[in-house]
C-alpha cells in the first residue's frame, strides 16, 4: 500500500551536469520498497508542472540502527521536472508517493543474475543487486553508456558485491559498442545448461535488443519499461504497453501490471519510441 510522504531532501549530489542523486527522508516508503519499484514525485508545488514524475527507487537509505529511513533517486535531467529535481537543495520538500508497481523478482542460486542497464536505466538495479547478493545469487551488472563520463556509481555496485561489466559506445571505458552486444558475447560463452536470468532497464531500443537476445538464447528476461504516467495507480490508463495475451494484442497498464514485465510478453514492434 503506497503512502504519500512530504519528503525532506537530505542531500542532492550532482554527479555531472545532467545526473544527480537525490536523497529523500521517507521512512514509510523505504520500509515497504522492493527492488524495481518506483515512486511518483511532484517536482514543484502548484500547477507548473502539474503532474508527478515516476522515478525508480535507487537506494534504500538506512539510519545507524539499520532501519529504513529514506530513499534516493538517480535523476537524469531531460525536461522541466527532472531539472527542478536537479536544482533541489537540501532541506527542500517534495511530495513523494510510493512504493508503486510490480517489483523485480530476484532469482535464487544456482541461477545467476545478469542485470543489463542503459543510461539512467541503472536506477532500479542497485536495490535488485543488493537483494540478489543477499540471497547469495551470483550477480553481474552489464552497464552501457555513450561515453565513459556517462557511467555513474559503478563503485556503489562493486561494494555491493556485484560484478560489473561496462561498455561505452565510443570504447572510452569497458567494451566498445552496445551493452546488449556484450551480453550476447557472454551468453555465447555460457553453457545453455547454466541458468541465467536477465533483467534489463534502459532506452526502449536497448530493452528490445535485450529481449531479442534473451529470446534467441532461450533465457528468461524481465524488463522495466518507461512509459509516461499520469497517476501511477491504475486510474488513468495512460501508461499502457502492448502485450501478447493469448496471442491477442492487449494494452496493459505499466504502473500496476508493470513497470516490470516478462520481456517475452511485450509486443515490441508496437511499443512507442
Amino acid at each position: 500500500m503506497p503512502v504519500d510522504v512530504d519528503a525532506a531532501v537530505i542531500s542532492n549530489t550532482r554527479l555531472s551536469e545532467d545526473y544527480c542523486v537525490v536523497a529523500l527522508s521517507a521512512p514509510a516508503i523505504a520500509a515497504l520498497a522492493r527492488p524495481g519499484q518506483f515512486v511518483m514525485v511532484k517536482p514543484a508545488r502548484g500547477t507548473d508542472p502539474l503532474l508527478r514524475r515516476p522515478f525508480s527507487i535507487f537506494e534504500v537509505l538506512r539510519d545507524k540502527a539499520g532501519a529504513p529511513a529514506g530513499i534516493s533517486l538517480l535523476n537524469k535531467r531531460v525536461g522541466t521536472g527532472t531539472r527542478l529535481l536537479y536544482d533541489l537543495e537540501a532541506g527542500a520538500r517534495v511530495a513523494c508517493l510510493g512504493p508503486l508497481g510490480r517489483p523485480f523478482e530476484p532469482v535464487d542460486p544456482p541461477a545467476r543474475a545478469w542485470m543489463i542497464a542503459g543510461g539512467v536505466g541503472l536506477a532500479p538495479f542497485l536495490t535488485l543487486g543488493e537483494a540478489l547478493s543477499a540471497r547469495g545469487t551470483d550477480t553481474t551488472l552489464f552497464y552501457g553508456a555513450r561515453t565513459a563520463s556517462e557511467l555513474y556509481c559503478v563503485d556503489r555496485f562493486e561494494r555491493a558485491g556485484i560484478r560489473v561489466f561496462l561498455t561505452t559506445e565510443d570504447g572510452g571505458r569497458g567494451g566498445k559498442g552496445f551493452v546488449t552486444a556484450a551480453v550476447q558475447g557472454q551468453l555465447d560463452l555460457t553453457p545453455s545448461g547454466e541458468p541465467v536470468h536477465l533483467y534489463a532497464c534502459g532506452p526502449t531500443p536497448m530493452m528490445r535488443a535485450a529481449a531479442a537476445v534473451a529470446a534467441s538464447y532461450g533465457r528468461p528476461c524481465d524488463v522495466s519499461l518507461e512509459q509516461v504516467m499520469g497517476c501511477g495507480l491504475g486510474g488513468c490508463y495512460s501508461c499502457v504497453v502492448p502485450v501478447w495475451d493469448d496471442a491477442k494484442p492487449h494494452f496493459e497498464r505499466s504502473c500496476i501490471d508493470g513497470p516490470v514485465f516478462d520481456a517475452s510478453r511485450i509486443a515490441w514492434e508496437a511499443l512507442a519510441h
Binding site: L233, S238, V240
Partner: protein, 312 residues
C-alpha cells in the same frame, strides 16, 4: 455539519465524486481510499464490448493541464458487472457507471444490462468524449442527438440518468435544457476540451490520436462559467467538473450552481485528495456558519455590480 447532497432521489454523503476515466474502476484505489467515504465513484467509460483504446502516447502535459486520448480502453459492461461491481458493492461505493455507445441502441442496451444488476447508483451518459470518432460526442454536439440518447436510456431504466455534456459547443445551456426535456435526472459538465499539442522538432502530434481532451486546472474558469450558465436555464441538479483541486474550487462550482462535483486530474496529482477536500469543506462551513453544505449551491451574488457608475 451536513455535507450530504441530493441528485434527484439519490442522496450522496458528500458532493465529491471521482471523475470517470480518472479513477479506473474504483477497485484500483480500494486500498488507499475508503470508497464509501466518497459521494460517489464514476467508473471508467464503458462500451458494450471490450476496447483496447488508442496506442500511446496517450497523455501529454500542458500548462496547468493535460491532454488525454485514451480512447476508452475498457473491459466492456458485461465484464464490468461480473468482475468489478461485486467488489465495489462490498466496499459500499456509490457507483456511477459512465457509458458510451456508437449508436443510440447501444446506449440503451448497456443501460439495460446495468439496470439488471444491484449496486449501480446512476448511469452517466458519456456523450462528450472528444477522443473517439464513432458515437459519443456526435450525440453530445447536437441537440437532437442529446435528446435522443437521453430519451432512449430514460425509457429502459429506472436508474438516475445523468448525461455528461461536452464544453465544445456554442451554448452548453441549450444542451442542458435538451437533456432536461428528455427526462435526465441531472447533468454532468464538463468533459474535456478538444485540444492538441505538437512536437515542433518532429512536427508530429504529441498524442498518437493527434487530438485529445484538455483537463485540469487550466479549464476551471471555463467550466465554472458553463455551470453558471446552465444554472440559469435548467432546474436539474448540475454536477460540476473541470480542474477542481481544492476545497475552494469545489465551493466555486457549488456557488456557481453545482449540486455536486467530480474531481479527475487533480486526483492523479494527489490520490489522497479526498480527505483534504472534505476537511477543507468542513473548515469553510465552520468559518461561515453553514450547517448544510447543500445550501451553498447556486448562491452566487451578482446583485451588486459595484461602481457600475461609469457606464461601459
Amino acid at each position: 455539519m451536513d455535507l450530504s447532497v441530493s441528485i434527484g432521489s439519490l442522496r450522496l454523503a458528500n458532493p465529491l465524486i471521482a471523475a470517470s476515466g480518472c479513477f479506473g474502476y474504483g477497485v484500483e484505489y480500494a486500498d488507499i481510499v475508503d470508497l464509501s467515504s466518497l459521494g460517489a465513484v464514476a467508473v471508467k467509460g464503458l462500451f458494450l464490448a471490450e476496447r483496447e483504446g488508442h496506442p500511446p502516447p496517450r497523455i501529454v502535459e500542458t500548462p496547468s493541464g493535460m491532454l488525454n486520448a485514451i480512447g476508452l480502453q475498457g473491459i466492456g459492461v458485461r465484464r464490468f458487472v461480473a468482475e468489478k461491481l461485486p467488489e465495489l458493492r462490498e466496499r459500499r461505493a456509490v457507483v456511477f457507471v459512465n457509458i458510451c455507445g456508437s449508436t443510440i441502441d447501444e446506449y440503451g442496451e448497456i443501460a439495460r444490462v446495468l439496470s439488471d444488476h444491484e449496486g449501480v447508483a446512476a448511469i452517466e451518459l458519456n456523450i462528450s468524449c472528444p477522443n473517439i470518432k464513432e458515437g459519443g460526442i456526435t450525440f453530445g454536439c447536437s441537440l437532437t442527438g442529446t435528446h435522443a440518447v437521453v430519451s432512449a436510456v430514460r425509457k429502459v431504466t429506472r436508474l438516475p440518468v445523468i448525461p455528461k455534456l461536452t464544453p465544445n459547443v456554442t451554448d452548453v445551456a441549450s444542451f442542458a435544457r435538451a437533456a432536461e426535456e428528455a427526462g435526465a435526472d441531472a447533468v454532468s459538465l464538463v468533459n474535456t476540451f478538444l485540444a492538441m499539442a505538437i512536437d515542433v522538432h518532429t512536427r508530429r502530434p504529441r498524442l498518437s490520436n493527434i487530438v485529445g481532451g484538455l483537463s485540469g486546472p487550466a479549464i476551471r474558469p471555463i467550466a465554472v462559467r458553463m455551470v453558471y450558465e446552465c444554472r440559469q436555464v435548467v432546474r436539474l441538479p448540475i454536477i460540476g467538473i473541470g480542474g477542481i483541486a481544492s476545497a475552494e474550487d469545489v465551493l466555486e462550482f457549488m456557488i456557481a450552481g453545482a449540486t455536486a462535483v467530480q474531481v479527475g486530474t487533480a486526483s492523479f496529482v494527489d490520490p489522497f485528495i479526498w480527505t483534504k477536500l472534505l476537511d477543507g469543506l468542513r473548515t469553510y462551513m465552520a468559518r461561515h456558519g453553514i450547517d448544510r453544505l447543500a445550501d451553498v449551491t447556486g448562491t452566487i451574488d451578482t446583485s451588486k455590480r459595484e461602481q457600475a457608475w461609469i457606464s461601459s
